[in-house]
């Protein structure tokens, strides 16, 4: 399609501008400036072209630190070391915080599991209690029904059962019912 289009071909043949050699470094410097300007109390300055770690720069840095210690005073070196220690401390604190967060998450999950098990057990007991209550309210003799336990009258009132009130010959006869006979 494009090959038949002289305008398109002429446009594609135009010389293309290229970014300057130090374009990336200048962008990164402006990025660091923008970040610093946005939050002057931010932690360590973002790596810029001036302080990005480079092999040659490391040697120069070591030599400069040595000269600084010997010639211009140890205080400067100590300031650098303090800054490095501060960075290490920040990293250590971040790692410790992450570890504590993970631990708290684990403990919370364990507590939730225990609470859930307790809740399930309570629910089962509650259901069993409801079934027993239902059976008793219908006047059926519970398998555990015995003299002195709580029973219900035919009008639904609860009271202690006496031995004479126990159903005879029929486990499921209503409480208080006695078969006709002598």
């Amino acid at each position: 399609m494009h090959d038949d289009d002289p305008i398109g071909r002429a446009l594609r043949d135009l010389p293309r501008a290229r970014a300057s050699e130090d374009f990336t470094d200048r962008v990164l410097t402006r990025v660091a400036d923008a970040v610093d300007a946005r939050d002057p109390l931010a932690g360590p300055t973002l790596p810029t072209p001036a302080n990005r770690p480079m092999p040659g720069r490391t040697l120069m840095a070591a030599a400069a630190v040595l000269l600084a210690g010997l010639g211009t005073g140890v205080w400067w070196q100590q300031a650098q070391l303090a800054e490095h220690a501060q960075q290490l401390e920040l990293a250590r604190l971040a790692a410790e915080q992450a570890r504590l967060d993970a631990l708290h998450r684990q403990e919370a999950a364990q507590r939730i599991a225990e609470d859930r098990a307790r809740l399930d057990a309570l629910h089962q007991r509650y259901q069993q209690y409801q079934q027993d209550l239902q059976r008793l309210s219908e006047g059926h003799r519970s398998p555990f029904l015995a003299p002195g336990t709580v029973g219900f009258d035919l009008d639904g009132r609860a009271r202690l059962l006496t031995p004479g009130e126990l159903p005879q010959g029929n486990d499921y006869a209503p409480v208080g019912y006695r078969p006709a006979g002598p």
Binding site: L11, P15, A17, A19, F23, V27, L28, A34, T58, A91
Partner: protein, 201 residues
Amino acid sequence: MAANVYPLFPPAHEDEPDDALMRRVRTGDTDAFAVLVDRHKDGLVSYLTMLTGNRVSAEDLAQEAFVRAFTKCHQYVESGRFAAWLYRIATNQLRSEARRRKRWLERVDRVRVWISTGGERAPDADLQGSEEQVAVQRALQRLPEDYKAAIVLREIEGWSYAEIASTLDIPEATARSRVHRGKALLRTHLEGFWTEGDHAR
């Protein structure tokens, strides 16, 4: 002396996709951002140079666009279209800048070129290439901004209409229309220069 910086991030790789690099950038990884800048800087500077006709302004705008891309990196939605997002920032920036300082910039640029060249060269001294290429660039500069951006992205950068539409925030059909009409205008502007023989080349 420069302060040592402890490497907080694993090194960014040149072949990592843009979206993966942007994930790193969101955590403050400037090395990953440097890879993105290296990857897109030439294209963006070329695009902005075509639009402004001024390489110095284009480079400055491109730098500002990258800085904004970094500071607004949390707004980027991973879609595999980082370039479209970046060019959109740059295009919006160019538009607002043009609206604010259009006449002033034109006058200052003309005076600057006139002073630096002793008044002997044409105002569009940044244009380079053969006579035909200069004519094409001059005709391109005469196009309305909207047409110019669509044509540069389509014909020079080789983008799809969907990418152009995303960058310029217009429907895809509008992108097609702008490219078509812009080329027709270009053809009209070049009529005086472009003979039938040149077409056949």
